[in-house]
Symmetry: C2
Subunit: 559 residues, 2 copies
């Protein structure tokens, strides 16, 4: 892949053909600006993968070119990868808004790299000036405070990344409305390419304002008699703020559960976003001593995460909070597609415990943080980009978003529906796909430390579907004898106590293969014999059970 | 659990606190009527489970009391368990409507039990008269032809099971509207208990008629220029019929892919439901020789099932049909919650192939087969039950349904939100929960033959999340020596080639445990040593990797 001297290259290392793991780069000559560095949550937690990060190898190879990592906002899918990136390239200066910065700090602290990390506060007034590129910012609105769009200024015009945004014209918590003047001005000055949020590209609406939800939530909360358990995303300070305000207005004390919720509130107070009177927030013991109508519990777990506070309350495994039959649980959130089933389970569990559950859009207790079709078109009209690259969305959303851009005046041949790793280069002559970085998925599991390889994940998948059979024997290749075994052990295949006949037959079968294979050659080859066992035993077991477990032959050679 | 002589017992073996696996029983003295016998699809196919059937042990124990299995309609979650039940209790006479019966026949044939099975055609005119109980039927509407509600007449009144239903007042395909007269008459005569479909109990609507969808589909299809790929549930003959009619009207030939779709159409033709002119349906070769505007492909896989025709077309692995860039794919279906992600993937894949995709409710190409709140209340008003048992739904839906019944006049204390296995007994004195049959889940995997035990499934889950480590050694307990090994092998844990240090250290660790444990006793106990290896090695590996793989110690004793 070769970027020419007069070309501005734009590529994604994450965030295309997927929702999550946002990471976009602009390169001009020997300068690279990285925008966001997120993680993705896997669709299947069964394989022990906790999250998926991006493939940083191109950046590692070109580390001396990287000028800055600029962050649009503090959501995990935009900042979660930062410590992993910095472990590989510690010298990258990171710029983020105050709320995002507080979250990034905790992450770096957890990874033990805070002292080696260069962190800067980012705001709409900041301009980063490098040799050839400069970066400026513009205010937008999203479901977390302190959200900025990013403009990377190049000799060919600005590359504008919207970040996650909606146009909330009546934001809450004293957050300013989006800076339409600055966006329009970018359009005036000349936008080379617009990278815009495709999450709600299929939704033919203008997303409802947070103020609307705040009013509706306040009404609902003031009408409730018993205890209130209020669950939302820890980072959605708007909802937390609304809940706290309603608690104050109805004379309730508030107890907070879930580490990320505690941190979020702490950060919100420290940064001056949350106005929490003394003595409002109390500990578990105090809250349990108060009458139900004086209690609000704020907690994490609105996506049905099994270890979060709400799931533990529902399952009766929470150390301090037991569910009461007249509790009201409010989900101020919507399940993301992969979590529908777990949220379903959670709601069932809570209702089985007798709680009243308020959930879903019908109750107006949630609105999206992403703009719908009208807002996306408005963003195009404001920034008037020459080229359009839909980002942050599944392929289908990127395609629809490209059509919207075309409706708003971007020529079809100037819209690029890319995939991760594809590099598009812009020059005065036009645009071209310059190559593919072939970025792979990088899996991270519980430990948070090591990468889990693709081989390991594939093995886990086979194991999970068919189980395994271990065949073990001690052999003497020299005298072509089976000294001990073969023994057969299985897990996840058949219930061994009830399948003794099958196991015995398999044992005899392996013995036979061993003898046959050892007889074949003067010097029996270990790898050949293993291969023969795998193939023969697999066929044998399939013929008996129609299952194909993983076969592990273990031959111990007696020397 | 004791049912008294004057009591009518009602219980579910499946279908409560879940959607799927419907199976309801009415028992009076020595007579049992079974209503439906379904399967459930597991939420997680990763564990190699293909479906979950019900626990038939109570029925096996009381087999001489069973008078009949009566079937409401031909969906898998109502008939899929029948061959498994009949394998245990072959003598049960089965009654089903023609379309369901055709499907049941194929199932019994596949299981090789057709000749031992007593199958009868069921219709609204049939009355089954037993010594103490009798059974009658009433016409309803649902997303499959030939749907009946069931009334089991007892000395205390009728126990009415709605089956899956909506009130489609303008059904298509010459199907009659629901028999409101008969339902009202049951209410007149006295309904003891109503078991009613809770699937859409949370939906505050009257479900749209099939006729509405048929019109909308016809309009969409006639407007399409290129090839049409039409996907729906194989059993939804209404959609198949609409598609076929539109194909005729627009001069297209039709090719059918997917075995269940072929069977469905075959059954539909044979039973006189589908009117298909000669030469309309052509084979793959012919369809590939026609111009795009003359082609309609009917196929299975609208739920994103990976092996179904549509997925294979999308992935380019279909033997006969390749996706063209100007194909239009119509999903005449909605993803059920557990399938949201796979349907998402499928739509992305199709769009990546250039196809135009029509999906979702916004296009009016689908309507539910289940009645919403207004229909559920109407069912209560018609049948005027003394007691109400919401069935076929998650707990949350059962609870909402119970509230709806209360709004329609059933006293709160007469509504029973039960779980599978709970037995409610009705007598002239009142109602009581008589006990719990403690029904367990029975897992069935690919082979379709054997049950997969709970232990096996749990093992698969551990294996899938953390992988496994096998430690194998040949030991001589008598002389307390390790003759060969220990060798360490892992799968799904760490990538072994890159973790040689860890493996070596683990090897030494196990050697040490073996020596220590053998030294402890005069006669070392195999089970004790295994236990020591599992515990010690697990701690050791956790300290190094923060993962807890399954440990399999295999000790081969040299005799």
């Amino acid at each position: 892949m070769k970027i020419k001297k007069n070309e501005v290259a734009v590529f994604a290392i994450g965030g295309l053909h997927e929702i999550g793991r946002n990471m976009y780069c602009v390169q001009y000559q020997d300068e690279i600006i990285i925008m966001d560095c997120g993680i993705k949550f896997p669709e299947d937690e069964l394989l022990g993968i906790n999250y998926v990060i991006s493939d940083y190898s191109y950046l590692v190879k070109n580390r001396e070119k990287i000028k800055a990592l600029v962050v649009s906002h503090g959501h995990e899918d935009h900042i979660g990868g930062i410590p992993f990136l910095l472990e590989k390239i510690p010298e990258i200066p990171v710029y983020a808004t105050p709320f995002a910065l507080a979250l990034i700090k905790s992450k770096c602290e957890e990874h033990g790299i805070l002292d080696k990390t260069e962190l800067h506060v980012e705001s709409e007034d900041l301009v980063l000036q490098f040799d050839k590129l400069s970066v400026s910012f513009f205010r937008t609105t999203h479901s977390i405070p302190d959200t900025l769009g990013i403009a990377v200024h190049t000799p060919l015009g600005a590359v504008v990344f919207t970040g996650d945004f909606k146009f909330d014209l009546t934001p809450v918590m004293n957050q300013p409305a989006p800076n339409f003047q600055r966006m329009a001005q970018l359009g005036e000055e000349g936008v080379l390419a617009l990278l815009s949020d495709s999450t709600n590209a299929e939704v033919p609406q203008f997303t409802k304002s947070e103020r609307f939800v705040a009013g509706s939530l306040h009404n609902i909360i003031t009408g409730i008699k018993g205890r209130i358990i209020f669950a939302t995303f820890a980072s959605n300070l708007y909802r937390v703020s609304t809940a706290i305000k309603a608690a104050i207005d109805t004379g309730r004390k508030v107890a907070v559960f879930g580490r990320s919720m505690e941190n979020g509130i702490q950060n919100g107070i420290e940064l001056g976003y949350l106005n929490v009177p003394d003595n409002l927030i109390v500990d578990a013991e105090t809250i349990n001593s108060l009458p139900p109508e004086k209690v609000m519990i704020l907690c994490t777990g609105s996506q049905g995460e099994p270890l979060a506070a709400l799931s533990r309350i529902a399952n009766g495994t929470h150390r301090q909070i037991k569910l009461h039959p007249d509790d009201t649980v409010i989900f101020s959130s919507n399940p993301i597609p992969g979590n529908t089933l777990s949220v379903n389970h959670l709601i069932n569990k809570l209702m089985e415990g007798g709680a009243h559950v308020v959930h879903g859009r019908v109750n107006n207790v949630h609105t999206s943080g992403h703009g719908g079709q009208e807002e996306l078109k408005l963003m195009v009209e404001l920034s008037k980009p020459k080229y359009m690259i839909p980002v942050h969305g599944e392929y289908r959303m990127q395609v629809v978003h490209a059509h919207l851009a075309q409706q708003a005046g971007v020529p079809a041949e100037n819209t690029f529906v890319l995939k991760n790793g594809e590099v598009v280069c812009f020059s005065p002559e036009g645009a071209r796909i310059a190559g593919d970085l072939h970025v792979k998925d990088v899996f991270v599991d519980t430990s948070g430390a090591a990468d889990v390889g693709n081989v390991v994940v594939r093995d886990r998948q086979i194991l999970s579907e068919e189980g395994l059979v271990v065949a073990v024997a001690t052999v003497d290749y020299k005298h072509k004898r089976v000294l001990a075994g073969p023994d057969i052990l299985s897990r996840g295949f058949v219930y061994m106590r009830e399948s003794q006949d099958l196991i015995n037959a398999a044992q005899k079968h392996v013995y036979h293969i061993l003898k046959t294979e050892m007889a074949k050659d003067e010097k029996p080859k270990d790898s050949e014999i293993r291969k023969a066992i795998i193939e023969n035993l697999q066929d044998f077991l399939y013929s008996r059970t129609e299952r194909r477990p993983m076969i592990l032959p273990m031959l111990i050679e007696k020397k």
